[in-house]
C-alpha cells in the first residue's frame, strides 16, 4: 500500500535507530561461584547438578554430580554438608536440602543401575593407592577416568575404610556402601585386600607403580590414662565400631558410658544402645554449644534415649562405678575443674577421644610428617616426588567428604605429575554473595525434611534412621535452589528490558545482549534473581 508521506510509517522502522549509542555502561553475563560449590570439600558443582535435577532430569544430574564425586549415595548419607551451611537460601528461609537430593540421586542411580563414566584411554602408567577408604576410592575413580592403571590395597578384608569400619550401618546401609564401591572397582581397579603396606618405597616398587597415593586414614583410637580397676571394661570407640562392623561386637553390658564429644562418641553411644544397652551415657567436658559433634547427630542421639553428662570429666573407673568431676566454663569458654564429684554406674567405658594415623609405613622415607599427619602441597604431593597423600592421613578436618575431595585433587596432581605438567587449577569465579541476589523472585518454599524412622524402632536395630526423599520431595527441594551466580534461564533479563535488547538463545543456550539497542539502564542486572549479570563501564 502506498503510504501517506511522513504521517504514516512502516512497522519496525525504528530498528534503524541504534540506541546503543546512549550507553555509558554495558551489562555482561557472568558466572559466579555458588557458595555451596565453594564450600563443598569434594568440589562438587552442586548448583549445576541441582539445575538438572530441577527439571527432573535426574540421570543428567547424577552424571554431573559424579564428575566430581563417585559416591553420591554414600555422601548423601554421611556428609555433614557444609554446602547447606553456606547456602544463600538460609537467608531467605532455610538452606536447600542439598544432601537429601544428593542421596536421592545416588539411590536413584543405584536403583536404575546408571554407570559411571568409562575409564579413559589407557596411559600405560600405574598408580598404587594405599587405603580403600573414601580418599582412596575417590582417587582410584579419578585416576581410572584419566586412563591410569590403579592398584588399590587395604589392610582390611573389605573395601571402604572408615566408611565401613567407622560409620554404623544405621547411618550407612552396607548394601549402598557395597554397591557404590563395586561401581568403582568395576572400572578396572586392581584390588588387594588384607594387604598391609609396611614400606612405602618397597610397595611402590613391588607394584611397579609410577606414583603412590597414601590414604591410610586415622585408624588408631586415642587413649588417655584413666585410673581403672582390672575388672573395668574399657575400649576405644574406633575398635568398638570396627568390631561391630565385622559382626563381632564386644559385650559391654547394660550400662555403657562413652567419653568424648565428637561424632564418633555419638556413633558409639547409639551403637551401644542398639546392642542392648539400657543406659548409653555420654560424658563430655564442655556444654552442648561447644560440642564438636554435628547438631543433628546430637538431636538424633538424644531422641533415641542417649543421655549426656555435660561439663563432666571422668576421674576414675572403679568396679562398676565411674567418678566424674563437674566442670565449669571460664571466661574464655574453657572447662575448669570445680572440685565437685559425682558417681555414675557403668559396665563399660568407650573412649571416643580422637584418632591417630599409623604412619609406620613411611619409616625410612623422605616423606615429611608433622603433627601426626603427612605434609603435602596443593596437588597433595609429599616431599617425595610421585608420593601423594590425602584423607585423614593428611592435614584435614577428617570427614569423608574432605577425603573424597583429596582423592580427586590427588588424582589430578598425579595425572599432572605423570605427564610432567604443573598441576594448575582453573581460576575460581568470584563468589556469588547473597547480596547480589534478588530473592524476590524465588517462590516461597520452606524446606522439605526427610522422614525420620520411628524412634522406637531405632532403639533396637540397625535399620537406617534417615529415610530418603520421595521423587516429588526431591524435585521440590532441588527447585528451592537459588542458582546463585549462575543463569538458570528464568527469562527475567529477556522480559524486563524496555528496549528488547536481550536475545534468548534457546534452551540451555542462555541469552546474549544486543548492544545495538541496549541503553545500559541496568534493570536486567537489578532484576536478575541469581546475580548473573553485572554492569561494566562502556569501552571507549
Amino acid at each position: 500500500m502506498e503510504r501517506p508521506f511522513a504521517i504514516t510509517l512502516d512497522v519496525g522502522s525504528s530498528r534503524a535507530n541504534h540506541t546503543g549509542s546512549w550507553r555509558v555502561e554495558r551489562p555482561v553475563y557472568v558466572d559466579r561461584l555458588p557458595p555451596c560449590n565453594d564450600a563443598c570439600p569434594a568440589g562438587e558443582n552442586i548448583q549445576r547438578w541441582l539445575y538438572h535435577a530441577e527439571s527432573g532430569d535426574y540421570e543428567n544430574a547424577w552424571h554431573t554430580l559424579v564428575e566430581e564425586n563417585p559416591l553420591p549415595a554414600i555422601m548423601g548419607r554421611v556428609c555433614f554438608h557444609p554446602c547447606e551451611t553456606a547456602c544463600n537460601r538460609a537467608q531467605v528461609d532455610e538452606a536447600v536440602g542439598i544432601n537429601a537430593v544428593e542421596r536421592f540421586l545416588g539411590d536413584t542411580a543405584l536403583a536404575h543401575g546408571w554407570s559411571l563414566p568409562a575409564p579413559g584411554p589407557a596411559t600405560g602408567r600405574k598408580v598404587l593407592v594405599v587405603g580403600a577408604g573414601p580418599a582412596g576410592l575417590s582417587a582410584a575413580y579419578h585416576l581410572r577416568r584419566r586412563g591410569h592403571a590403579v592398584r588399590l590395597v587395604d589392610s582390611a578384608p573389605r573395601l571402604g575404610g572408615m566408611l565401613r569400619y567407622g560409620i554404623p550401618a544405621y547411618r550407612l546401609p552396607r548394601d549402598v556402601l557395597d554397591a557404590e564401591i563395586a561401581r568403582i572397582v568395576n572400572m578396572g581397579v586392581e584390588v588387594g585386600l588384607n594387604e598391609t603396606v609396611t614400606d612405602i618405597a618397597a610397595a611402590r616398587e613391588a607394584a611397579g607403580a609410577d606414583a603412590v597415593f597414601l590414604a591410610v586414614g586415622a585408624q588408631l583410637g586415642k587413649r588417655v590414662s584413666i585410673p581403672a580397676g582390672d575388672s573395668a571394661k574399657v575400649i576405644d570407640a574406633v575398635s568398638f565400631l570396627h568390631q561391630v562392623a565385622d559382626d563381632d561386637p564386644p559385650l559391654l553390658g547394660r550400662r555403657v558410658v562413652v567419653y568424648g564429644g565428637g561424632d564418633t562418641a555419638l556413633d558409639a553411644a547409639r551403637t551401644a544402645k542398639r546392642l542392648g544397652a539400657t543406659d548409653a551415657v555420654i560424658v563430655y567436658r564442655r556444654n552442648r554449644e561447644k560440642m564438636p559433634a554435628h547438631a543433628e547427630e546430637v538431636e538424633q542421639a538424644l531422641g533415641e534415649g542417649v543421655t549426656v553428662r555435660w561439663l563432666s570429666t571422668i576421674e576414675r573407673f572403679e568396679g562398676e562405678r565411674l567418678v566424674i568431676e563437674k566442670m565449669a566454663l571460664n571466661a574464655e569458654g574453657f572447662p575448669e575443674a570445680t572440685g565437685e564429684f559425682e558417681e555414675l554406674d557403668a559396665d563399660a567405658l568407650v573412649l571416643a577421644l580422637g584418632q591417630d594415623t599409623d604412619l609406620s609405613l613411611l619409616a625410612g622415607s623422605e616423606v615429611a610428617v608433622a603433627d601426626g599427619v603427612v605434609q603435602v602441597v596443593d596437588s597433595m604431593m609429599t616431599d617425595v616426588p610421585g608420593i601423594f597423600a590425602g584423607g585423614d592421613a593428611a592435614p584435614s578436618n577428617r570427614t569423608a567428604t574432605v577425603a573424597v575431595g583429596h582423592g580427586k585433587r590427588a588424582a589430578r596432581g598425579i595425572d599432572a605429575y605423570l605427564a610432567g605438567r604443573v598441576d594448575e587449577r582453573p581460576a575460581r569465579h568470584a563468589l556469588a554473595e547473597a547480596g547480589r541476589l534478588n530473592t524476590w523472585y524465588y517462590a516461597d518454599a520452606p524446606r522439605t525434611e526427610r522422614p525420620e524412622l520411628e524412634r522406637i524402632r531405632r532403639q533396637t536395630n540397625f535399620e537406617e534412621v534417615i529415610g530418603g526423599l520421595t521423587e516429588d520431595n526431591a524435585l521440590f527441594e532441588a527447585r528451592r535452589c537459588l542458582s546463585c551466580g549462575n543463569c538458570f534461564e528464568c527469562d527475567n533479563c529477556f522480559g524486563v528490558c524496555p528496549d528488547n535488547a536481550v536475545m534468548k538463545l534457546g534452551p540451555g543456550e542462555r541469552y546474549a545482549f544486543n548492544y545495538d539497542f541496549c541503553k545500559g539502564c541496568g534493570i536486567c542486572v537489578a532484576e536478575c534473581p541469581c546475580g548473573a549479570i553485572e554492569m561494566v563501564p562502556e569501552r571507549i
Binding site: 534503524a16 523472585y441 527475567n492 539502564c521
Partner: protein, 336 residues
C-alpha cells in the same frame, strides 16, 4: 478476595514471579518469555533508559496480541509513549497503531471498534492507551463517555504519576508530597498537596463497566493474566498500570521494576481487579515494607528525608498505604 497472594505457581522455583521459567509448561509461561512474542513496541524507540512505560506497553500489548491471536489495533494518546515511539521517519510499533490527539484516544478507539463491528470484523479488538495525563486529566471526558457507552475497548493507562513528556508537571495522578515542576518543594506544604487527585480505577468501577484492574510492571504474570481476562470480555474495560519513570521520579534507571514492586508491597499502589463494579480480587502483599522504603530512592520525595526530614508527611503517606491495605484486604497472610 479470590486472588491468592504471593506464590501462585507452587513448586517451580520462580514460577510466580520471574518472566519465564524453563520448568513451566509453555502454556503457563508468560508471553514475554516467548522468543516469538510480538515486541509490539520494538527496539530503537527513544524512551529514557529504564523507561517503565515502554516496558509496560510492551507487556500489555504483547499479552493482548496473544489473547487476540494478533488481531489487535492500538490507539495512542499524545504523550511520552507516542513521541518516543514514532518520530518520523521511524516507528517502533509492530501492530496497527493510530495516534490522533492528547485528549481523545478513548473516543478514537471507540471509532475504531465501531468500524470493526460494522465491517463484521469482530475478531479485531481495540486497545486505547495513554499516560496518566491523557487518561485522568485531558482524556477523562472521552474516557468516561467510552465507559458509560460500554464500547468494546480495553483502555490502558500507563500511570507514571505526572506529565513527563512536557518536563514533569503535576497531573491528577501525582501523589501527595511529590515534587514536580509545578509542585515545587517550597512553602509550608512542599511538593504536591494532600487531598487532591483522582482515583481513576474506582471512578471506572463507578461506571459499572465489566472489568477494571490495576497492575504494575513488577508483576508480569498478574499483568498478563489481567490483559487476557480483559480480552475475554466484551465492552469497556480499564487497566491501570503503574510504570515508574526514572526521569520524573528521580530514580535510578535500574530501579524501575523494583520501585513498582515497592509501591505494591508498601500498599501505596493497590493491585486489584473488579468486575461489574465490584472488587473481585486483590493481590496480597508478600513482603510488607513501610512507605519510606519506597519513597527514599526517589528524588521527588527527597525533601521528606533531607536534614530533619518530614516524618509527619511520611506518616500521612503511610496512613494512605494503610488505608489501601484495609480497603482492599492487602495484608499478607500472616498478618490476618
Amino acid at each position: 478476595m479470590t486472588e491468592p497472594t504471593a506464590t501462585r505457581v507452587h513448586f517451580y522455583q520462580v514460577g510466580s514471579f520471574a518472566v519465564g521459567n524453563r520448568l513451566l509448561s509453555a502454556d503457563d509461561r508468560t508471553v514475554q518469555s516467548n522468543p516469538a512474542r510480538t515486541n509490539s513496541i520494538d527496539s530503537g524507540h527513544r524512551a529514557c533508559q529504564g523507561c517503565g512505560e515502554a516496558l509496560g506497553a510492551r507487556y500489555a500489548l504483547d499479552a493482548a496480541m496473544r489473547a487476540t491471536n494478533d488481531r489487535l489495533v492500538a490507539v495512542n494518546a499524545t504523550g511520552c509513549l507516542e513521541v518516543f515511539s514514532t518520530p518520523y521517519p521511524e516507528t517502533s510499533w509492530r501492530i496497527p497503531w493510530l495516534h490522533s490527539l492528547f485528549g481523545n484516544a478513548p473516543a478514537v478507539a471507540t471509532g475504531v471498534a465501531a468500524a470493526m463491528r460494522v465491517k463484521g470484523r469482530d475478531d479485531v479488538r481495540v486497545v486505547g492507551q495513554a499516560g496518566d495525563g491523557g487518561t485522568v486529566d485531558i482524556g477523562f471526558g472521552t474516557l468516561s463517555g467510552m465507559f458509560e457507552r460500554n464500547d468494546d475497548v480495553l483502555f490502558i493507562c500507563y500511570d507514571n504519576e505526572g506529565y513527563m513528556n512536557t518536563g514533569v508537571q503535576r497531573s491528577a495522578a501525582t501523589p501527595p508530597a511529590a515534587r514536580t515542576a509545578t509542585t515545587d518543594v517550597v512553602g509550608p506544604e512542599p511538593g504536591n498537596v494532600f487531598g487532591q487527585g483522582k482515583d481513576l480505577p474506582r471512578i471506572a468501577m463507578a461506571h459499572d463497566i465489566p472489568y477494571v484492574a490495576t497492575a504494575t510492571v513488577a508483576d508480569l504474570h498478574d499483568l498478563e493474566r489481567k490483559v487476557e481476562r480483559a480480552m475475554e470480555v466484551r465492552g469497556a474495560r480499564y487497566l491501570h498500570v503503574l510504570v515508574p519513570c526514572p526521569l520524573g521520579w528521580g530514580s535510578a534507571s535500574s530501579d524501575t521494576v523494583r520501585l513498582a514492586r515497592l509501591a505494591t508491597e508498601s500498599g501505596l499502589f493497590p493491585v486489584f481487579e473488579a468486575e461489574d463494579g465490584v472488587v473481585t480480587g486483590a493481590r496480597r502483599i508478600r513482603r510488607r515494607v513501610g512507605v519510606e522504603e519506597y519513597l527514599r530512592p526517589q528524588r521527588r520525595f527527597a525533601h521528606l528525608f533531607n536534614g530533619a526530614g518530614r516524618p509527619d508527611v511520611v506518616a500521612r503517606l503511610q496512613a494512605m498505604a494503610d488505608a489501601n491495605i484495609e480497603r482492599y484486604g492487602l495484608a499478607p497472610d500472616e498478618e490476618e
